[in-house]
């Protein structure tokens, strides 16, 4: 899974995805950079949203990452679960994946 399952409050965390064309299963760049939304527990309003970015584009395909600061200022709290929902569109087909991690004191 492209996301650690635990982070200390105040530390950074990086999550990542590899996008594939669902018609062929082949590793393929997304039509646009994938978007993400970070939810605390089951609260419907995301605490963070944004776009991921390609990393090492010259040597990878469809590889996107994002670094988030898991700070109190950004809304993170200890002993809560945070779910990252990611959407990416490849060849006009939209796929998604979710990751989850906990914040430790």
């Amino acid at each position: 899974m492209g996301c650690p399952t635990e982070v200390y409050l105040g530390d950074n965390l990086v999550f990542s995805v590899c996008t594939h064309d669902p018609d062929t299963g082949v590793l393929t760049d997304a039509g646009a950079v994938p978007t993400y939304r970070v939810y605390e527990d089951e609260t419907a309003v995301a605490i963070l949203t944004g776009n991921m970015a390609k990393l090492d584009d010259a040597n990878t395909t469809g590889f996107y990452t994002e670094l988030v600061a898991c700070t109190a200022v950004n809304g993170f709290e200890v002993r809560k679960t945070y779910t990252v929902y990611i959407e990416a569109t490849v060849d006009s087909d939209t796929g998604g994946i979710s990751y989850a991690f906990k914040v430790s004191p």
């Binding site: 990542s16 395909t61 990452t65």
Partner: protein
């Protein structure tokens, strides 16, 4: 997920991948051994690259693993996230998967009591412990493993 989420600085970590033919979804050996690249946070230049190797080929299909030493000499640091980008080609189609793990100076939260030395050994994230056992009081400060 074929990768632990946390490793102690200086320890080894093993990650694995099972390759499938995307046309059929069937577990299939890759055309060549998968390659990997390991990135620290979002730094574009990888700190480690290489190829994975088959494991237990006689009893598995498309099963590849790699062991790496998460040492300072290899560029690993406490409290950073490391992302592994793996590419594998099966039946001429290339797929990929990312894994991520943190390097943790405090380990998995284990502790023990060494009767011979009469000492408590903590290896935990918690900064301090107070253990009161009448008539004595013990104060413990947990420190990162060195």
């Amino acid at each position: 997920m074929g990768c632990p989420s946390k490793v102690l600085l200086g320890d080894n970590i093993v990650f694995g991948a099972c390759t499938h033919d995307p046309d059929t979804g069937v577990l299939t050996d890759a055309d060549v051994v998968p390659t990997y690249r390991i990135y620290e946070d979002e730094t574009t230049a990888p700190i480690l690259t290489g190829s994975m190797a088959k494991l237990d080929d006689a009893n598995t299909t498309g099963h590849y693993t790699e062991k790496i030493a998460c040492t300072t000499a290899n560029g690993f640091e406490d409290r950073k996230t490391y992302t592994i980008y793996i590419e594998a080609t099966v039946d001429s189609d290339t797929g990929g998967i990312p894994y991520a793990f943190n390097v943790d100076p405090y380990g998995p939260g284990l502790y023990n009591f060494d009767a011979e030395s009469k000492s408590f050994n903590f290896n935990v994230r918690t900064r301090a412990y107070n253990f009161n056992a009448e008539p004595k009081t013990f104060n413990f400060i947990a420190k990162p493993r060195t």
